[in-house]
């Protein structure tokens, strides 16, 4: 537990206003964007500078107190939640853009800088910061680094890891290290690459140097309308196989379209469509972008698109994108609670997996909406429900597990951009064996021997090879059976998908 003397010492560092101990204040930080998880931190501390972060981390090291770094709290995995014995270290006050270097196309920022503000600052130089999570108007770049965040335009430009060149990191013991170099060349083994996506387990990034890209001069945004989810999925595969790399290739299903069109973010999507694809092509020269757009339009029509509409101007393009980017918010209208999944499958598996997810939802009597990065095969099946209804949460959990199983069986993984956090911890032994999980835990302990930074996340505690080996054997046996059965049914997945052991969550 956190004693009064420690709270006093924290106050000495950051000031009384920036240490929150009252229950109501702490409750503000008890959830992230995935509201099904709730943890009440012991104390919330909001340092205002790098030096304050270092002082706080060193103080906590002396006292052996766990802590959880947190940005804007928009994450979708329960990754930035702290338990009653831990301090929540909120970094939103470290929000300065320290440098924009247009000649070298790099910028250095503090972790609390809101994602979109960097692009705004770079815009006068004709540059932008490419990773664009849907929450980009609120999420922080420090949080993006922790989660290796993606976004629609990462299809062409790569996820956060592609754009981070160098980091200043405060380790768990308060030591400050410099990783990477401004030019992007690793200085030794690629510890920047290792740090990005480590969900806060390796320390706190206090300075982040990123690559900026030129704002594309030519853009075409297409909206294709499909009568069936399957044909939309097949069209995605065909576009990817054509060799044209769209800047973004997003899909929304019928349920999602209704939610968006019923909201203030209505974008003019066709309400009778089973699915729409939002395809953006960009580049330097209008003629070549137009040629690629024409090729993509032909592919979409060849694969069953009823119509393909091209945004005529920037305003229409923004409207189409607003619908997509605010889709999660719109789905909040469907029901009281929302579970957001984040699996990735091979793109050619999309048609089968989408149908399988639909069947799972139907079988459990749940409302499932799909809005996702189709070009990357990064699915976001969202289940809307009212958690107050007895037994419903258990059905949602079971359906979620089956959806994950369907994605794993298809050769996929359990998270593409949201991270493991608390939410996906139970699935980790299903994709990694005991040796791989043990290796990850070993890496974590190099950075943080006592495992005090964001404890209980990413790697399940019971990661010993014997335990996980049993689980994986069970999984493989079950899904070998599933594969045989489903092959005869032709649906690729099964109704008897695995049950994820609750013991996988660890203690």
């Amino acid at each position: 537990m956190i004693d009064h003397a420690l709270v006093e010492a924290l106050t000495q560092i950051v000031g009384e206003r920036h240490v929150r101990t009252a229950g109501a204040e702490r409750a503000t930080y008890a959830k992230d964007g995935l509201t099904v998880h709730r943890r009440l931190p012991a104390v919330v501390v909001l340092p205002g500078s790098r030096d304050e972060v270092i002082a706080v981390v060193r103080l906590l090291a002396v006292h052996g107190v766990p802590f959880v770094p947190r940005g804007a709290g928009t994450g979708l995995s329960g990754g930035a939640l702290a338990d009653q014995d831990a301090v929540l270290l909120v970094l939103t006050r470290l929000n300065r853009i320290l440098k924009v270097d247009p000649r070298n196309r790099v910028a250095t920022v503090e972790p609390g800088v809101v994602n979109v503000k960097l692009s705004v600052a770079a815009a006068p130089h004709g540059l932008l910061y490419a990773p664009d999570p849907s929450s980009q108007s609120a999420c922080t770049i420090g949080g993006n680094v922790a989660e290796n965040a993606g976004g629609p335009h990462c299809l062409k430009y790569g996820v956060t890891a592609t754009h981070v060149l160098a980091l200043e990191v405060v380790l768990a013991d308060g030591q400050v290290i410099q990783l990477g170099s401004p030019g992007g060349e690793a200085w030794g083994p690629d510890l920047v690459g290792l740090f990005v996506g480590s969900e806060g387990n390796f320390g706190v990034a206090t300075r982040i140097t990123v690559r900026l890209l030129p704002v594309p001069r030519a853009v075409r945004t297409l909206l294709a309308d499909f009568p069936a989810l399957r044909t939309a999925g097949e069209a995605v595969s065909a576009v990817i196989a054509s060799g044209i790399v769209p800047a973004a290739l997003e899909m929304m299903d019928h349920s999602c379209i209704q939610a968006v069109e019923d909201s203030v973010y209505a974008a003019g999507y066709p309400r009778d469509a089973a699915a729409v694809l939002l395809v953006e092509l960009d580049g330097r020269v209008d003629d070549s972008v137009a040629a690629d757009a024409a090729s993509v339009e032909a592919i979409l029509k060849d694969h069953g698109a009823r119509s393909v509409r091209t945004a005529v101007d920037a305003r229409e393009r923004e409207r189409l994108w607003q619908g997509r980017k605010k889709a999660f918010g719109a789905m909040g209208r469907l029901s009281r609670d929302l579970v957001v999944q984040d699996a990735v499958v091979p793109r050619s598996s999309l048609p089968d997996v989408l149908e399988a997810i639909g069947r799972i939802g139907e079988r459990y009597g749940l409302t499932v909406s799909n809005v996702f990065h189709a070009g990357d095969g990064n699915l976001h099946p969202n289940i809307s429900f009212d958690g107050r209804i007895p037994g419903l949460r258990a059905r949602v959990d079971a359906a979620s597990g089956e959806m994950m199983a369907a994605c794993i069986v298809a050769g996929g993984t359990i998270t593409g951009e949201h991270g493991i956090g608390l939410d996906k911890l139970r699935y980790m032994p299903l994709i990694f064996d005991g040796d791989s999980l043990t290796a990850m835990r070993g890496v974590r302990r190099v950075f943080d021997p006592a495992e005090r930074v964001n404890p209980g996340k990413v790697v399940p505690v019971h990661a010993c090879r014997e335990w996980a080996g049993v689980r994986n054997a069970e999984f493989q046996a079950r899904n070998a059976e599933v594969g045989t059965r489903s092959a005869s049914r032709g649906d690729g997945v099964s109704s008897s998908a695995l049950r994820v052991p609750s013991s996988a969550v660890g203690s």
């Binding site: 270097d101 000649r103 070298n104 196309r105 290796n148 993606g150 990462c154 790569g158 890891a161 400050v176 290290i177 410099q178 170099s181 401004p182 030019g183 060349e185 690793a186 200085w187 030794g188 083994p189 690629d190 510890l191 920047v192 690459g193 290792l194 990005v196 996506g197 480590s198 990817i240 196989a241 054509s242 060799g243 790399v245 580049g283 330097r284 020269v285 070549s288 040629a291 690629d292 091979p346 050619s348 095969g377 996929g412 993984t413 359990i414 998270t415 593409g416 493991i420 980790m428 990694f432 791989s436 999980l437 290796a439 990850m440 070993g442 890496v443 974590r444 190099v446 990413v458 790697v459």
Partner: protein
């Protein structure tokens, strides 16, 4: 029992290569599967053997002090090519030339053109993170990887990443392996991100003085062209009388046509196009040159420091065999040099926040200066800790901890 007999008993008689023994007389073992690699390294840990890891033997000199050499050359299968997903899985010992051909047959392309001979193994390219000129347009080696499977120094088979295009499940050990020089295990399987084979692949070159070509490169960079490669070659590397600025355009006919027009507009139309066979020979010869001289290193600065870095290199180690990617700020050098000269150059570069990575050299030199040199404050213990995590018995002979210690 001698090591050779022990290994034959473990992996079968044909696992020990008889006719291509290492120059220093070490037994050379070629496991035929990832499990066999795991078995060998597990045994090495138990027996206290030190193991030198080799690919095709065309890049890193096969001279690290060890008890046996493990070559990945029999791990040369390509279990999966999925052109519709633009993904492939290949074993680490496949030659890049063979892999490139198999991919091309399926209409797919790995946008990497590493330095070295054509038969250099994929595992070697990944372990040393040696990207070539295509880094300008398509990124570093790590950007082409979606996962790797590797064997730790004590024989554990570890999986990182997966086979899909996005994956944040667990820590990204793939990034640690890319450019880790084998310090954290032996890469056995690589999951790759591919591109469609470009419909058009065009190379244009311009000869001139280094200063003039640097200015042209600045103009090209400022124009924001979409290039696959922009590389400045010394005369010896280009096999021309003067420096050469080479531009590679790859993609659809519309894209290549538009960018070539943009290039000519930005530079006054001075470039001349190479025929496909000429272009192939040009890039291949330059790549091969980096494998034929005693030492090769790379440095990575900011794009606007490219000229200053070339000056510094010229002053301290000479610029006979050098290429630079002005748009990316990276530079690769090859030639003869000494431990003292490398240390001095590294110190000068470090003061400018520019790392120097020794990509290949004889063991005594790389042991002395290390692939990375002295680590910055606080980083050395992390690297040592990671090394201990993945190779607790220090079985893998690798020079990531040099005699130049700082942090």
């Amino acid at each position: 029992m001698k090591i050779v007999e022990r290994v034959k008993a473990l992996l079968g008689r044909d696992a020990v290569l008889e006719d291509t023994g290492a120059p220093d007389g070490l037994p050379r073992v070629a496991p035929a599967s990832p499990d066999a690699v795991a078995l060998l390294l597990g045994t090495a840990r138990e027996e206290g053997w030190r193991v030198r890891v080799e690919g095709a033997g065309t890049w890193m000199p096969a001279d690290a002090a060890a008890d046996l050499a493990l070559t990945t050359r029999r791990l040369d299968r390509v279990p999966s090519i999925q052109p519709q997903d633009l993904a492939a899985t290949a074993e680490a010992g496949i030659g890049c030339d063979q892999l490139r051909q198999q991919l091309a047959d399926r209409g797919a392309w790995l946008a990497l053109d590493p330095p070295g001979l054509a038969g250099r193994t994929l595992g070697s390219v990944v372990a040393t993170a040696t990207a070539g000129p295509l880094r300008h347009g398509f990124g570093a080696v790590r950007d082409h990887l979606v996962g790797v499977t590797f064997v730790t120094g004590d024989g554990r088979l570890v999986q990182s990443g997966g086979r899909v295009m996005k994956n944040v499940a667990g820590y990204d050990l793939t990034k640690l392996q890319a450019g880790g020089f084998g310090a954290f295990g032996v890469i056995v399987l690589v999951h790759l991100r591919l591109r469609a084979l470009p419909r058009v692949d065009q190379t244009l070159v311009l000869e001139g003085s280094r200063e003039d070509l640097s200015r042209v490169a600045d103009d090209i960079t400022a124009a924001g062209l979409t290039l696959a490669a922009l590389e400045l070659f010394s005369p010896a590397l280009a096999r021309r009388d003067r420096w050469v600025l080479a531009v590679r355009l790859a993609g659809s006919a519309a894209l290549v046509g538009a960018e070539e027009a943009g290039l000519r507009s930005a530079t006054g139309g001075q470039f001349s196009a190479l025929r496909a066979d000429e272009a192939h020979a040009f890039w291949m010869r330059a790549a091969e040159a980096f494998a034929t001289r005693p030492v090769t290193f790379r440095v990575g600065g900011l794009p606007d420091s490219s000229d200053d870095l070339l000056d510094l290199i010229q002053h301290q180690v000479g610029d006979e065999w050098v290429s630079a990617s002005p748009g990316a700020g990276t530079l690769r050098w090859t030639g003869e040099t000494t431990v003292d000269r490398l240390r001095r150059l590294r110190r000068t570069l470090a003061a400018q926040e520019v790392p120097l990575t020794v990509e290949r050299a004889a063991w005594p030199l790389r042991r002395a200066v290390g692939h990375f040199g002295a680590y910055r404050e606080g980083v050395g213990p992390l690297v040592a800790g990671l090394r201990h995590t993945f190779d607790p018995g220090n079985a893998i002979a690798v020079a990531v901890e040099s005699e130049d210690r700082a942090g």
